[in-house]
Symmetry: C2
């Protein structure tokens, strides 16, 4: 499959879409500007990767979510330009949730740069997240400029329900930190909210803005949801066995952070040496490599990889069922594969 | 004016409106329910004053904001029942902002009860606030059930812009904590966002849902904005010279907390003994009464009271200009007066 990762449709579409996304995002964030709001705007521009030390492509992230919206819209034979406010809105929602997640997870770094709360303190960072959340919703309402009011209402409802779902997933994630009785079954409701909901919203919004019929919308939505699940499992694998340089954080951090990722929950279910060590208390950084090997020896890595592969197959099937059209359809498939092969 | 505070229109309208508001709020908050979400729902129900120790009327607050929406709708000759989703949405926005403000201000108590972050920790409390924010927006979209889609879009835009304005005001409030160069002029942009914006939204939404014409909407909006400013100045007075039992917190807390309220900023502008003591470092609880007397002796109390009175007069003039109709119009005036005479 790796030959598809270098085919042209995705690259050429990305080159036309990404600058438009970035323009839309900058315009949306500029709405916070007002007398006395220079610092608040700078905080948001820093978080978005546009300003401050380390600003640039590595700081912005890849804008996967808006691309998913736009490619889905185009693959469903819509004009992707009309979906730009939806694309920008989901990226703003994503970034709002990162600001708050970083506080809630006590994370000092995001994409290799100090997090907002580290630089400006928790009170200003919570509030900056709230500002970005508000800007996301204002941006979603801009759909009324390009689409019917009925579609705008439907799109904003999708976004609001997704935001609620995100907080439900995050609630579980935080609650799990202190729970000792978790099994692999507890994993899915958490990442269903934390990761899959937003990607499902992306493909749903793309199809909606293209006026796709209900069956196609459901297939696209399911594609996004399964892609999100597969992506998260892959992310969990990288969080334990990935090359730290690829993720911008210590490759062992998920074990050290005590994150209840799928491989960890699988390991706990085995009730073997990994589970015994996990139950004995926090993992120290110097143990992380040994413990990652132990977890692998107990089958957690292979099991999680099989799960990721299975979800990937299902996601691609849902995409096929949606019958995506033209180059955008190919590009959408390419993007999915690229997302799921990040470690190669 | 105090005889108006016990006249009947407000009491009888409140008695029919408040249970409807509470029903709408409970239904909106119930949207967070899902498997595994019992604790998240309980956190929100606790914060709303419905559950947990101390639940009841003193914990819910007075629901002033939704009442303002509904009374304005009725005074503008609309059916107030159709404005219920807007009324509930603003109350949810208000409560979301309280959850985050309590974290940002390090406040252990709210309405005499432990705050959410004190009981469940900062990460869960930030996230619960985000959930309530999402529920507020979902609730606003319910206006589409009772009003045209165009009006729904306009109403949600008012709410989103208000949320942004709230975060701008809060940004200044937090930034002011560490600034030593503030004057009374810095006060208005802060409370314009923190307090006045939401009350302006209430009266604007009430008029909008009643299909009031543009001039009436602007007058109602201005009434709400001025009422918010007057209310905040009154609150500042109570924060220093009020009876602690009325506010559920130490009457001296604003001085001890270092809050840059209008009387404090007025005192700083005098460059007298109060300003000298303020510049010397944090106020200790045992100094608070003496310092409040000093501040009063320097004219801050009288100046702030004159400002509050002036704003009240302007607010009531804007209300008259809106030409509110019938019992609801009288009740609206009554509510405004009641709000501004809380210390009597």
């Amino acid at each position: 499959m790796s030959d598809k990762a270098i085919r042209m449709p995705l690259q050429s579409l990305i080159q036309s879409m990404l600058p438009a996304v970035e323009d839309e995002l900058r315009r949306a964030v500029a709405d916070v500007k007002a007398p006395g709001m220079d610092m608040l705007h700078h905080m948001l521009a820093y978080h978005m990767g546009w300003e401050g030390e380390g600003a640039g492509p590595s700081a912005t992230g890849k804008r996967i979510r808006p691309l998913l919206v736009l490619l889905t819209c185009a693959a469903a034979t819509g004009e992707w330009e009309r979906a730009l406010p939806a694309a920008a809105a989901v990226e703003l929602v994503h970034n709002f949730s990162l600001i708050h997640d970083d506080i809630e997870d006590n994370s000092p770094l995001r994409r290799g740069r100090p997090t907002l709360w580290k630089l400006w303190g928790i009170p200003q960072a919570i509030n900056a997240g709230d500002a970005l959340f508000s800007l996301a919703h204002l941006e979603a309402l801009r759909l009324a400029d390009t689409l019917s009011v009925e579609t705008t209402i439907m799109a904003t409802r999708i976004i609001q329900q997704t935001c609620l779902h995100l907080t439900q997933g995050q609630h579980l994630d935080i609650a799990y930190e202190t729970r000792r009785d978790l099994t692999a079954n507890d994993y899915w409701p958490m990442i269903g909210g934390k990761t899959a909901a937003l990607l499902a919203a992306c493909t749903d919004l793309g199809a909606l803005t293209a006026n796709a019929d209900r069956a196609a919308r459901e297939n696209y939505r399911e594609f996004g949801r399964l892609l999100g699940l597969a992506f998260q499992v892959q992310d969990d694998l990288l969080g334990i066995w990935g090359d730290a340089a690829l993720t911008g954080k210590s490759s062992e951090s998920d074990l050290v952070a005590g994150k209840k990722s799928l491989p960890v929950l699988y390991g706990l279910d085995q009730r073997g040496p990994f589970a015994a060590r996990w139950a004995a208390g926090s993992i120290q950084p110097e143990e992380a490599i040994t413990l990652a090997r132990q977890l692998e020896a107990e089958g957690a890595r292979a099991a999680a990889q099989a799960t990721a592969d299975n979800l990937t197959t299902q996601a691609l099937q849902a995409l096929d069922d949606a019958q995506p059209q033209g180059e955008s359809g190919e590009a959408l498939r390419e993007l999915a594969l690229k997302l799921l092969q990040r470690q190669t």
